[in-house]
């Protein structure tokens, strides 16, 4: 059944996150922009697949990429920015390949390229409000945010990437805090392990199976590398992920 596939399950969880974000924002226009992103990624992917003379298949990966783009792109952007991000993502998915395998995370590449073109940064609007707080609604939002972990950590078994990423990320952020004489263990964890943006990134984007290593040691190194690139080169998580994709695409 389709619903048993990892990508469809991931899409369902991302839709739940998008709906919860719309409720939190008390406006549903962002959902429309997310829908636009999904429609664009699906249609673009299907066109490019046809151009590449590949037998058509359910564009479940395009659905996931469109949802990620919708959750991360500022809803205040012009609609054509969302369209361009989505088209760029699918172009990268279809044409930036090595030995017929993806190199870069599609959503990340689309967001990065469009950010350069239009000089805007990733908003993370849909995955930044789920701060863990002691009330039922916040807890519910937080659990919804964690739900994609069922797919990436359990179904796809990409937990080594997440573990190595967080270990290195927390360690070096802590070292930076110690150097700055501002170390606070609780703030460290709240800003890393329990930060909603970082959680979404590590549960959804970082372990994307088509652009990450399949074997244990490369997975550990990949997660660690992305964390170190983000911290030492002062890259955004998106940029660090793309660097990690580039460094490790041969290890699949």
């Amino acid at each position: 059944m389709l619903i048993g596939t990892s990508k469809i399950q991931m899409a369902i969880f991302l839709i739940l996150i998008a709906i919860s974000a719309a409720f939190f924002e008390k406006r549903f226009f962002p959902l429309a922009m997310t829908g636009l992103a999904v429609l664009t990624t699906i249609s673009t992917d299907m066109v490019l697949i046809r151009l590449r003379r590949v037998e058509p298949f359910l564009p479940s990966a395009a659905i996931v990429s469109g949802l990620i783009i919708g959750l991360l792109s500022a809803p205040t952007l012009p609609w054509y920015h969302i369209v361009i991000v989505s088209v760029m993502a699918m172009a990268g998915k279809n044409f930036l390949r090595f030995e017929n395998k993806h190199i870069f995370n599609p959503a990340a590449s689309g967001l990065f390229i469009t950010g350069l073109l239009f000089m805007h940064s990733v908003s993370w609007w849909g995955v930044s409000f789920q701060t863990l707080q002691i009330n039922p609604v916040s807890l519910l939002f937080f659990l919804i945010l964690l739900s994609p972990g069922y797919v990436s950590m359990i179904h796809l078994r990409r937990y080594k990437i997440l573990i190595s990423f967080f270990m290195v990320y927390i360690l070096f952020i802590g070292v930076l805090q110690l150097i700055q004489h501002s170390f606070n263990f609780k703030n460290l964890l709240m800003g890393t392990l329990f930060d909603p943006t970082t959680l979404f990134f590590s549960l959804v984007m970082l372990p994307e199976p088509m652009t990450t290593p399949n074997h244990h040691l490369p997975q550990l190194l990949f997660g660690a590398a992305v964390a170190m690139v983000a911290i030492f080169f002062r890259f955004s998580l998106i940029e660090a992920l793309l660097v990690g994709n580039l460094l490790f695409f041969r290890f699949r």
Partner: protein, 150 residues
Amino acid sequence: MSNKVVVGIVVAVIVVLAGFFLVYNKPSYSPSPQPQSSTPRPQKSTSPVTVQPSATNEATKEQNVITLTAGGFSPSTLTVKAGTKVSWINKSGSQATVNSIPHPVHTNYQPLNLGSFTDGSTISLTFDKAGTYGYHNHLNPGQTGTIIVQ
């Protein structure tokens, strides 16, 4: 229910309970550290700012104030001279933060990780070095701003 699912649920519950334990005793959450390096020195005030009129630089003080509302930081780009103190006033109606780009690692300029401030309160930072400093509200990363120090 498979063992993997059970393990995953248990891990998730442990993580959430650990989070509650960490959150419980502290009412406010500061997503980034308060740097205490000697230069530049961030200045944080949790009480609303009362501007003390000065005969010479009242207008200048007002020019170096950034207001955060529900619509974002205003002005979104502020140009100041080195050695100038810039203040952020939170009038957004909810808790907010001022953190260095990029989100969420905040590594570009550590002193700009001023952390959270409640609605009605003010935080400040003196910029000693020339450069361009991007920042954002960690709790709403679409709200961004830039300080250009000449």
